[in-house]
């Protein structure tokens, strides 16, 4: 969002049957959309004018989407949402690892795509951390959270599955350790594409998260309730570079 003008998108997909109606739909939603049918055309379009965000199909003839995505993330620092027909979790991780900001599985709900575009742009607008910093793992009280894989591991090495709302809530705590976060603040940080959380919903999410990470969820030690205020992570957080 360079100026406050309309958001400019570059849509890269070899399938005209999808690309054209999707471009029309996005245009109706107020985006300025340019299209490219392969990686070469996409590079040409990028050279001409940089968009605010790239929508990129993974499987394309010629240079594939992953390779182009790597180039975009490394050289251009452009937000990228991958479009793919395959829904395997490994695909998602590969896509995110090489620098895609989000990942949408075909067939997607067009409204959901729009929500994700806005969400990615919102995140990109905030001070964008460098890729390596984003990959760094969080460690607290023996627990580890891998933000890339959204993988939480307890002190014994057991994976503890968490929902995306819980992930965002935990990230909010981990990025603000020992600070009191009130409900409004948490709501603001946690609000994702699918979350239209009410005030009580924050409490609900906190209690869900507590059930998973507290030894005794009725006597929470890690996520403490602050009377009249909100919640606080009572632990020190360390960042560890990936692969360590």
């Amino acid at each position: 969002m360079s100026d406050s003008g309309p958001v400019r998108l570059l849509l890269v997909d070899d399938e005209a049957s999808l690309r054209e109606p999707l471009a029309d739909y996005l245009a109706r939603q107020g985006f300025v959309v340019r299209q490219a049918e392969d990686a070469a055309k996409a590079r040409a379009a990028l050279a001409e004018e940089a968009p605010d965000l790239v929508l990129l199909d993974i499987m394309m003839p010629g240079e594939d989407g992953l390779s182009l995505c790597r180039h975009l993330a490394e050289a251009r620092d452009l937000p990228v949402i991958m479009l793919t027909a395959r829904g395997e979790p490994t695909d998602r991780i590969v896509g995110l690892e090489i620098g895609a900001d989000d990942y949408v599985v075909k067939p997607f709900e067009p409204r959901e795509l729009v929500a994700r575009i806005r969400s990615v742009l919102r995140r990109a607008a905030k001070a964008a951390p460098s890729a390596s910093e984003e990959d760094a793992q969080y460690e607290f009280e023996g627990w580890q959270l891998d933000p890339l894989k959204r993988r939480l591991v307890d002190p014994e090495g057991t994976v503890v599955p968490i929902s995306s709302a819980e992930y965002r809530l935990l990230m909010a705590f981990l990025t603000h350790p020992r600070q009191v976060l009130d409900r409004d603040r948490l709501l603001d940080m946690v609000q994702g594409r699918e979350a239209h959380l009410f005030d009580r919903a924050v409490d609900n999410q906190v209690s869900r998260l507590r059930r998973k990470i507290e030894v005794d969820s009725r006597d929470p030690r890690l996520i403490q309730t602050v009377w009249g205020g909100g919640y606080r992570l009572a632990a020190d957080v360390r960042r560890i570079a990936p692969g360590k």
Binding site: E15, L18, A85, R86, K106, E109, P110, K212
Partner: protein
Amino acid sequence: MKAAAFPRLLPRSLLGQMLLAVALALLVAQGISAALQFRAAEQRREMIAANQLAFQLVADPRFDFRPIGSRMGDDRRKWRRLRVERTPHNPLMPGEQRDARREELLRAILVEQGIEPAELVVTKRRAADDPYVMGRSATGQWREVPQWVEGDLLLAALRREGGTQFTVARVPLSTREPRQLGELIAQTALLYIILVGGLAVLLQRITRPLAALTKRVETFAETRAVDGQLDPSGPEDMRRLIVAHNAMEGRIAALLDEKDVMLGAIGHDLKTPLAALRVRIESVEDPAEREKMARTIEDITRSLDDILTLARVGRPSDPRERTDLGALLASVVEEYEDMGEPVTLEDGPRVAAPLRATWLRRALRNLIENALRYGEQARVSLERDGAEAVIRIEDNGPGIPPEEIGAMLEPFARGESSRNRVTGGAGLGLTLARAIAEQHGGRLVLANRTDADGRIAGLVAELRLPLA
């Protein structure tokens, strides 16, 4: 019954069975050989006894028993010869049997020596019953009483043509030497060790690659990946088997790869137009109509996903990770809670198991959706049962007629009562849940839940997963 009990004692491995067979064959062969040797020794003994009797009868020696006095320490007490007795009476005692066979043997020897016996009597008696031996023994002429006095002796009485007196010769029957049996056993044991040792070495050359191949087949059955194939080893036959097996593995893996590529292509080629369709229906004016279209596309997508997932379930690309099962259940149940669906999770113990979380989530969703579709609500619980984690999903539906439970797990099966398009789905839900349970080394058990009156109150789906 015997057949059932007996094989349990038999060795099961190739090596054990071969060694047992060899041992048995060796035992039979050694038994026959021992019997033959024993018979030969018996004949030799008879011949020696007959010759000794003949010699005494012919040569009529005048010396008596005495120790041989040689260097052979053990033989000192051995009997050597007994003085020949002359008597006018037939020495056969009342009740004694003549030994016709030995008489025949002795007569032949004597005839060969030019003696034509007028009367020849051979009998066997206990040395202790023999008056002559006991008489000699009583005189004290023998420095020591020979051992054979304890045993039997052969007695031969000869009356020559024209003579009136009997010449009586006595030969003690040597007791069978126990040495023979011991020797035989030692010999058998030695043979057995040599043969079995050699055989074991040979068999190991076969069984080691065979064991490796077995392990390899097991690994391949699980991973269906060609890395870690065996190098051919062992005898030629084994090598050929391993080479053939490797070729087959390669072929299977290639087929599976082809299948994956094909599925990827199907997925791509169907999902892209579906995505296009999904985008296009956004321009449909009537919201109700648009909603219906969107629902249809969702149904097609779900069926497609089920089919693709079922086709991939045997060859997961992700490893198992030790995962908190309670947290996994909670995160699945919470999705439904957030959508306002009547799904509840009961408090349970903390259970961790090696899982593929994405797959298991799918199985759980299928089971929960099944419960919601047919049974109005779903109650999910988790418990530990021995070495298994048991995830239970209960509903309040009509259950499944017991005879149809097995068929429900087959692909594309749906309860007869609900075979309509409203509920949607390709009917792969339970099949997929079962396949995912099996992918984890567990199983899916379906059973009807009955109330206090014994009526069916709902269905219980149990997902049993091994903890290690």
